[in-house]
Assembly symmetry: C2
Homo-oligomer: 814 residues x 2
């Protein structure tokens, strides 16, 4: 295993000793001990909260080896000095590493270095060095992805701290808030926030149900910050309604009427809408009338519930017990999302029930809010941030959409999120309109929603795939300059559901916005990374939120790398960078000739190449049900392979040395098609036999991560190297030939006439190993994402015109 730890705050010895006192490792009794081994023994004794007698403790010590020949109990009996060999032999065992398997008792320092664990160099410890080493060890991650202080937390170390007075809470250690809050005593409230909306047109402002979990200490005056997750899913989803709305993608691409649209023609302009009056407030109370037993929880939030943060969930307009309609990404949805923050910061009213006359304030919060969540949840965090709403100090947006056009469309084409062929904004709205799950409510509201659904279906316009006013309303990138919240973005470089363009465009736009922004790019798909063995993501977020929401001066902004990227060629390897592609001006530039990508400054053969998009019916049908087989066949290079005549494939020479391909690969060229419409798709591929990371993190230990003490648990996982494969897709892109200049502008295509095109592919951060080849695949129908009419479309490309530009940065930057 290799440890990657970014959240350790460099701390001087004096501060470390003070902190050890705060968490009761150094007590008056310990201070009075006269020898270093005695102090060491006392620290170790506190590491076994399970036993309360000398006999019990001796047995625990006997289970540990101090040297290759002596167990800890025996060693302690005769110890006169504590050296780093013994300290790290015992330390590694406390961290869960196994002598013989993970390290050699004869040389623990070697393992400390190999696993990348921080250590103190002194060979013999004086009292101060021992304290410092102990402090560092507490902050060191063990075999199961938890630091020693977290391991002790899950074993009850902090349970006695539950009773500390509020003045001593929260409790920070190494800049991070600790689990001194009893999660068995959380207070759970439901309130109804009145939003400045009437999306269901019932003449009343929409009430939005909010679920609150807060530490019981708030009841006695502690003010806590809030992690707010806006999740349209968390009151349930209507899978049947979503399925019924799903679109058939086995339909032909059709020609669109050419238009003269400019962006201004499709720009969304807000229109002022009359709003019903606010509900009058008759009384005010501090006590909620309604509670709940089990929210749809989220690991990162659960972790912070044990650490002095409140958590707030709201599903927004159209969800169970709320008013309004689901509208997938529009301005009303953002307003609904922001209304909760406005309530948390005292600027909007909430009621204790849906009758709406007894108001209740968020009196228990300090007014600092962060938003969290992945996918749609992270999307709403992004949406809220682009309003610049006060009180929203930061968002941690994971796998978030930054423009809905980039989620459901691409360059004038309907392009589905991976594994969701046929989904669209209306499908998603039908699914998250959970009011339909409550028959009584549905009875009243369904006809109103069905009308909204028809509107979504019409305006999303699957017929043309063009960018229009509907999509412009749903483009948060337009408002990036309004962002005031600091941002952590997390995205999978292999996320073909919410494609990397979504985070890359946001990141790029943020370059000129005066907020702190951090980016983490992992090698997963559409996943959370809370539970990886090799990265201290949760600690990093603790550092970040302790700073942003509790104003702890912990250097979070400088400690966290600007851009943290998981290497795609090795397990458990993460590198920090100053930026993505924005700080590089180097690139690889290619031309093509028969089957080859060649450097752009070479002379090449002049010729055209052709392919037919039409597949034999049986093959087409097979691929419809075996999408991965289709993709693999796309890369196969034998003339007899079924896709051979249905795409063009160009491969570069072998890379002379490792290369980091970064940013937006750009392709241009000229193409003709035999009808008055057509599309092109492109993939960049890494060719070369190599062990590559598993697509998803693999289970290491089930339920190994207790998020507090007797609290919720998560599984420990990580990516591993899988058996060698010959290729891997790096990125892709799609283009409707009629949108060769703009997604909002449809131009004519004459059959068999050549047209210039150019486009960016989805952005990348790819480590290409020496000896590997870059492949460029040009094809048309993308079985996984585009419509699939299996039409008789023949494409010709002028090879002479094709150029591929791939930004690169030096591998050794880090």
């Amino acid at each position: 295993m290799i440890n990657n730890q970014f959240a350790i705050v460099p701390t001087d010895s004096e501060a470390a000793i003070a902190e050890l006192k705060t968490i009761h490792f150094i007590t008056d009794e310990v201070s009075k001990l006269t020898t270093v081994p005695a102090v060491y023994r006392a620290l170790l004794a506190k590491s076994f909260p399970e036993v309360n007698t000398a006999a019990g403790l001796t047995h625990k010590f006997k289970n540990l080896m101090a040297t290759s020949q002596h167990d800890l109990a025996a060693w302690l009996e005769n110890a006169t000095v504590v050296n780093n060999q013994v300290f790290y032999n015992v330390g590694l065992q406390l961290l869960g590493f196994l002598p013989g398997e993970d390290f050699d008792l004869a040389d623990p320092l070697l393992a400390m270095r190999d696993i990348h664990l921080p250590m103190v160099a002194d060979s013999a410890f004086d009292r101060e060095a021992l304290y410092y080493a102990w402090y560092l060890l507490l902050n060191t991650r063990g075999k199961k992805g938890q630091t020693l202080i977290e391991i002790l937390t899950t074993r009850g170390y902090f349970a006695p701290f539950y009773d500390l007075p509020n003045a001593q809470k929260p409790l920070f250690f190494n800049g991070k808030s600790q689990a001194v809050f009893n999660t068995n005593h959380l207070i759970r409230d439901v309130v109804y926030v009145e939003a400045p909306l009437d999306t269901d047109h019932d003449g009343q402002r929409d009430l939005l149900k909010v679920e609150i979990l807060r530490p019981e200490e708030t009841a006695s005056g502690l003010k806590v910050p809030v992690l707010y997750t806006a999740s349209p899913y968390n009151q349930g989803i209507n899978g049947h309604a979503g399925d019924a709305q799903m679109h058939n993608v086995d339909v032909p691409l059709t020609a669109k009427e050419p238009d003269n649209n400019t962006y201004d023609d499709v720009a969304y302009q807000p229109t002022a809408q009359a709003l019903p009056a606010k509900r009058p407030v008759e009384h005010e109370t501090k006590d909620a009338e309604e509670t709940f037993s089990r929210e749809q929880s989220y690991t990162l939030n659960d972790y912070f519930l044990a650490r002095g943060f409140a958590v707030v969930y709201a599903a927004g307009i159209g969800s169970v017990d709320s008013d309004g309609l689901a509208t997938t990404g529009d301005v009303a949805e953002t307003t609904s999302t922001v209304a909760i923050i406005e309530w948390l910061t005292g600027k909007r009213t909430a009621f204790t029930n849906r009758d709406g006359n007894v108001a209740i304030k968020a009196w228990w919060t300090n007014g600092s809010v962060a938003m969290t969540g992945r996918s749609y949840l992270g999307t709403l965090a992004t949406a809220a941030a682009t309003t610049g709403v006060d009180g929203l100090k930061t968002i941690i947006s994971e796998a978030a959409i930054s423009s809905w056009y980039d989620y459901y469309r691409d360059n004038g084409l309907v392009v589905a999120p991976d594994t969701f062929q046929g989904e669209d904004t209306d499908v998603l709205a039908a699914e998250v309109f959970s009011r339909s799950l409550k028959a009584g409510d549905a009875h009243r509201i369904q006809p109103v929603f069905d009308q909204k659904l028809a509107e979504l279906t019409r305006d999303q316009d699957r017929t043309t795939g063009n960018y229009n006013r509907f999509w412009d309303e749903r483009n948060y990138l337009k408002n990036v300059d309004k962002i005031k919240a600091d941002i952590v973005m997390v995205h999978g470089l292999n996320d073909w559901n919410v494609k990397p363009r979504n985070v890359a465009n946001l990141w790029d736009k943020l370059q000129n916005v005066p907020v702190t922004k951090k980016l983490i790019l992992h090698q997963g798909q559409h996943i959370y990374i809370n539970n990886l063995q090799s990265l201290d993501f949760t600690d990093m977020m603790n550092l970040w939120l302790s700073h942003k929401l509790y104003d702890v001066d912990n250097h979070a902004e400088s400690l966290l790398p600007n851009v943290l990227v998981q290497d795609n060629t090795a397990a458990q390897t993460w590198h920090g960078y100053d930026n993505w592609w924005q700080d590089t001006d180097q690139a690889l530039d290619f031309k093509v000739q028969y089957k080859e990508l060649v450097p752009a400054d070479h002379d090449v053969d002049q010729r055209a190449a052709h392919f037919s998009d039409h597949l034999p019916d049986k093959l087409f049908d097979h691929y419809r049900h075996h999408l991965d087989a289709w993709q693999a066949d796309l890369f196969s290079e034998h003339k007899s392979d079924p896709m051979y005549d249905h795409r063009l494939l160009f491969k570069s020479w072998q890379a002379p040395h490792d290369q980091l391909l970064v940013g937006r690969p750009h392709i241009k060229g000229s193409v003709a098609v035999n009808q008055n419409h057509g599309m092109l798709s492109f993939m960049l591929v890494d060719f070369g036999m190599a062990k590559r990371l598993t697509v998803s993190p693999q289970m290491i230990a089930s339920k190994a991560l207790d998020l507090g003490y007797h609290w919720r648990e998560d599984d420990l996982k990580d990516f591993k190297l899988a058996p060698a494969t010959p290729f891997k897709m790096i990125t892709k892109g799609h283009l409707n030939l009629q949108n060769r200049h703009h997604p909002w502008h449809a131009e004519a295509v004459q059959p068999n006439e050549f047209y210039d095109f150019e486009l960016d592919l989805q952005p990348i951060f790819h480590h290409l190993l020496a000896g590997h080849q870059i492949g460029l695949v040009i094809y048309a129908t993308d079985m996984k994402m585009t419509v699939r009419g299996n039409q008789n479309l023949q494409y010709s490309l002028n090879l002479n015109d094709i150029r591929l530009h791939v930004p690169v940065k030096p591998v050794d930057q880090n």
Copy 2:
């Protein structure tokens, strides 16, 4: 969905009303209400523990439809009578069923019948009928596999009951103990039981670590029964040590020296061993000195922790913090398992720590013990039961081994548990010898254990595969007549890890033992069935244990079917039977001729058939890594298929009607082989295109089952019908030709000479659909289970001699 509920205790109206009072549904206030609708409203109001105001409640009522046109709030305003249409419309919604999707508001009774939910027939309810219907509804399972009273439990209904005086606890409803114990306040103790063993020969009796979880009410005098799980895994496992011990199975079968063994020659005789003296007791205490934070838990136990049962875990000899050595199934292991029960019942001493002079009694228990657990855990429960130990009232043994020879061997062959090729008793011992995980302890004990390991390796005797003294010691079936505990057995008919013979032999032997025995046969592999949507297994076990351990007179013994079997041809279908095959004398009897199974009374062609066990190297290597491909090819019927010449396949005529194949299929015949050793394997196969159940239960709802209130959760799952397949293996069996009469007796084989053989296949309970065909496959090397030498062995079978006998029972018995 189809509901299968066996744990509803028939209750008369008077008793039902009394019970509704006990659980506070009928209160004095409710009794004073004058109209039936008012009573109905009051009952409904108590079903929303989340809200405490009229306004909040009205909103909840507005979410429910009472009729196709009126929501519950509106309907209640004008209601003068309560009819069963409204009652079950609302009831179905309370149970989680969705109008429009799961049932029609115009006809809820149809859905009640279709889903197999119990109901009251009256069309209009008087007060008594309403109470009774409500009582029944509380005991009815909903869409997510929980009864309404369980749904209410997970939403906090019983939280106010935590404070009831001990005299009112436990609280039984419909014969089952309810979750009125606060699982956040469980007391966790560690004690060390002194076993009458010294397996590590250190001159001290072996101390065994025990982890206890008990309700806090025990501290104030409540005596509770114990669910005890003996799990060698639950202090951790040493995967590396197990892997290092794993045996190579790609070795040839070899000839064994013929012997004259009778069973008496291999019968295990216990030898008296001198035992060190007991530790002297210097003090006694009621307070443990050691606790623990997180046991390796088990869903069924967790469920009972909320319901007034203590749970005790012990990993036994050789595990972390215990003494002794892992010995895989021997008598010492059983003694170690039983020692915990002896302590629980006051007959053995436990100490507060490993110094062993302060004794601690199990003063908090009523002395009634049940054992629970699956696989090795269930095996140890079986082992303990066969000692007849006092206090062990019942065991619930799931997928348990009844004889270790039947786990690792078959008729003179090494036959691995499925997916564990190369495993054996020594591998398992190395894995569960978790003392090796504690370096300090390992330093002292590893050499002693390595010697024991060498002994296991020698005595298990992979060379001959014979049944010997070693295996006879590990055969619990010999002691079935000593069993005094009532037994529930659960086993998968597709469990090829712990094969069905293990449960069938125990069941068969128990026929003459005067205890109550129940058998549940499901269609899964080696799984738990706690979390199935379609079966109330947990409720059944609650009924069982409330009766066995709390002496509740709830008719558990008559309500639970003797033999409950999941149908293999339909989803969510379970049938009760009086017995397995023991109550039938009917059978199908077959002869064979070229490719055919024909009725035994037909004349057949006289000829021999041959096959070669030797595969081309490349194919053999392919199958080694693709075991399922090997098995599928075994059934392929085309001459060009790769396994065609390497097995014989005989298929019956199409079944004229549905048949239930039950018990032990029996095969006899005569065979010759071209060398002085050989083996035969057999499979019965169900041929016929049909949708068959998924191999494993599929996820329906993640974490949907809260086992109490704010307590641990399990996923809801069930088997579903998968796309149609042409065949499915029903059962298999294996035979070393040298053990053609007894597994303990090796006889000579002369090359090319014919020998009679006969054997039972693994027992079955298989529903063969009309039109399907039974297939018999005769082959030799079983890639999944036997050694795989890919030897040049040629087999000839006299077709004239082959007979297949399959017991059957009438399909319509149920």
